[in-house]
Symmetry: C2
Subunit: 238 residues, 2 copies
DNA sequence: GGTGATTTGTACGTATGTATT
DNA sequence: GAATACATACGTACAAATCAC
């Protein structure tokens, strides 16, 4: 039983649409020519000739591949191979979260729970690969966060950077991308809700500091407690 | 600083393309009319009027939303709201895996590692929500797996079902979907590689039985050991 | 079962906006 | 600024699938 790319078991073996054929054709072109991220693809008209499909079909195929972040189109310049990311996951989850934004916030809570689960799951690898220079980086970021908070400024970028540096020692790139993807979803959904209380910001900064401290002591248990404390104010408010 | 849906900080505030406007328009239409999965959207021509864009732009927008599994298009019938899934994540990761299929299998290893991490992370919730009827279901599935293995048959569907039932008690739907998404990626990528050895299949069946046993004893530690054993043959071969 | 109406799918032509040289 | 190459947008026509009558 072959189930195709989507994992369905399509009983009806309908011939793939022209657009889908074009999608597969372009994917195959990338593989055959071993194109790397940043490499240019043929122009739309060239792709039309190459694949034997009309402009419309090729364009719709390119839209699909753009959405999956497999290619990157720059107006007036050309089409390029993209370093595939989890952009589509982010978009899909943000839309889902905005659907029920008015009456409940389940999706946001789910997202935060997963961020917490990821941070907990990587605890062992993180503490094992302790790197003094990374710890130094983390400390500096927390200081910046603290400074911004005292000025009443938003420290979202520092927050993102903190978690990225924290994950930078993790071998598995997909975990790193999932981590950032859920961070993006989280931050895009938060504005739809009422803002956090000021005391929560203060607690958040302290929680980041706790994580650094735990890592400095190479203390897995304390790390996990700090992670739980980091997300606690959010989860209880949801 | 507003960063838009993608989390970028676009310095150049270029006006969104017509296609992107159409995407947002259709999303907004779904929200405004509180459409639920399965509900029909206006026809393409009606959407063109409603949004004021040409058919091509609306079509490309629909392609994007189809890729994100936000809408579902049926030829000759109409366009429907879809229950958003992680289909796009699956497609993107499968493509990534096929890129380096010939020389290495990093992506497959990364995917298996994440499956393992998810199964480990849910251990506490799983063992806490022990349900005899679910355990019964799991036992039956393992028996089916065992029977199929002895006949030399593929038991992928039973494997999928096992992990779905295992996760069915988890509250967080996104975790359930992630679990299934990574299962799909895993199974779609496996055929690109050499088949597993027969003794691995036997070990896999036993590992599933071990998981059921651990849950029957409500033994978290044994559950985690079983999960590790479940993925071990795969990870070492990668 | 067949026919026509409806809806999406494909093709092509033309004009316009955009970036590079 | 001009020329070129490219993507973007729109409109129209027809093909293919589906459904109701």
């Amino acid at each position: 039983m072959h189930t195709g790319t989507w994992g369905f078991s399509e009983a009806t073996h309908r011939p793939a649409s022209t657009t889908q054929q074009a999608v597969e054709g372009i994917k195959q072109y990338i593989r055959d020519n071993a194109l790397k991220p940043g490499d240019t693809l043929p122009t739309e008209s060239e792709l039309c000739e190459e694949l034997g499909f009309s402009r419309s079909s090729v364009r719709e195929a390119i839209r699909i591949l753009t959405t999956l972040d497999i290619v990157d189109v720059r107006h007036g310049t050309g089409t390029f191979v993209s370093s595939t990311s989890l952009k589509a996951l982010v978009q899909g989850l943000i839309f889902r979260a905005t659907l029920d934004a008015d009456d409940n916030l389940e999706t946001l809570r789910d997202v935060v729970e997963i961020r917490q689960a990821i941070d907990l799951a990587i605890g062992q690898e993180i503490t094992a690969k302790l790197d003094p220079s990374k710890l130094e980086q983390l400390s500096i970021i927390v200081e910046k966060m603290s400074a911004k908070r005292k000025q009443g400024l938003n420290f979202a970028e520092e927050d993102r950077e903190f978690h990225q540096v924290l994950l930078s020692e993790i071998d598995n790139p997909i975990i790193r991308e999932l981590n950032d993807a859920f961070w993006q979803v989280h931050m895009n959904v938060i504005p739809l809700r009422k803002l956090e209380e000021p005391q929560d910001f203060s607690r958040t900064v302290r929680a980041h500091q706790d994580i650094v401290d735990a890592l400095q002591n190479n203390d897995l248990k304390k790390y996990q407690e700090s992670v739980l404390r980091h997300y606690e104010p959010l989860l209880t408010s949801l």
